[in-house]
Symmetry: C2
Subunit: 135 residues, 2 copies
């Protein structure tokens, strides 16, 4: 992984979204189906929220909310984003400081991707494979 490269090189461009009216249960099924730890919440083609498995633990399981609670009640409405051209090293720094495992990536005012620790794993392994191939 070239940590000076812009984060857009390593981010995942495919954003998986649910609607604010979808239930927590439905959202969890989508997370399991796609094997992802976070979802964007989309309304009228705009990202209006975001939440992670940790948010479900904190805001659903601990208070004992039913799994038919709509996503809008537990999503984060304030989105933490970084620009797509931010160097990976800065993004990793921010994620560690904020103790978050997913970061939304913005380009020209629009959310275009997400960077997660799984992308870090993929990038680390890709680097490994390149190194092994070059041996």
């Amino acid at each position: 992984m070239d940590v000076n490269a812009p984060v857009k090189v390593y981010m995942t461009r495919k954003l998986i979204g649910v609607s604010p009216d979808d239930s927590v249960k439905r959202a969890c099924e989508v997370m399991v189906e796609f094997d992802i730890g976070s979802l964007v919440v989309v309304e009228k083609n705009r990202v209006v929220g975001f939440f992670t498995k940790s948010d479900i633990i904190r805001r659903v399981v601990i208070p004992g909310l039913p799994n038919d609670t709509p996503v809008r009640e537990i999503m984060s409405g304030e989105l933490i984003t970084v620009d797509a051209n931010t160097p990976v090293r800065e993004v990793l720094d921010l994620m560690a400081k904020k103790s978050i495992k997913h970061m939304l990536i913005e380009e020209d005012g629009e959310i275009v991707g997400i960077f997660s620790l799984s992308d870090l794993l993929t990038a680390s392994r890709r680097r490994l494979e390149t190194a092994i191939a070059a041996e």
Copy 2:
């Protein structure tokens, strides 16, 4: 990160555990308190189970179990472990293949630590800091 180094160099040695009779709610509170994504389940000083936030999503939230369900009903009883001397590159490979974000680390038949993607983040940043300091 030196990917040929044994995983024990980068693993977290402090294992956070709950009892099989603790409730899912209590376990989630412990995860939030320590900001971790997995817990070992300990009975009579032995690790008898393991589970992650993903397991809670799959086995509690989706089926709609109450949060006072005991941990023993949702934990994984079969533990996936690797030896503490396994090179990090092999561990990362295994984690990617199995789509898991946490790996239990064993030494002389005993579980001595855990390696997670957060440790990968810490290690990547440590390497960064060393590189920057050497500039």
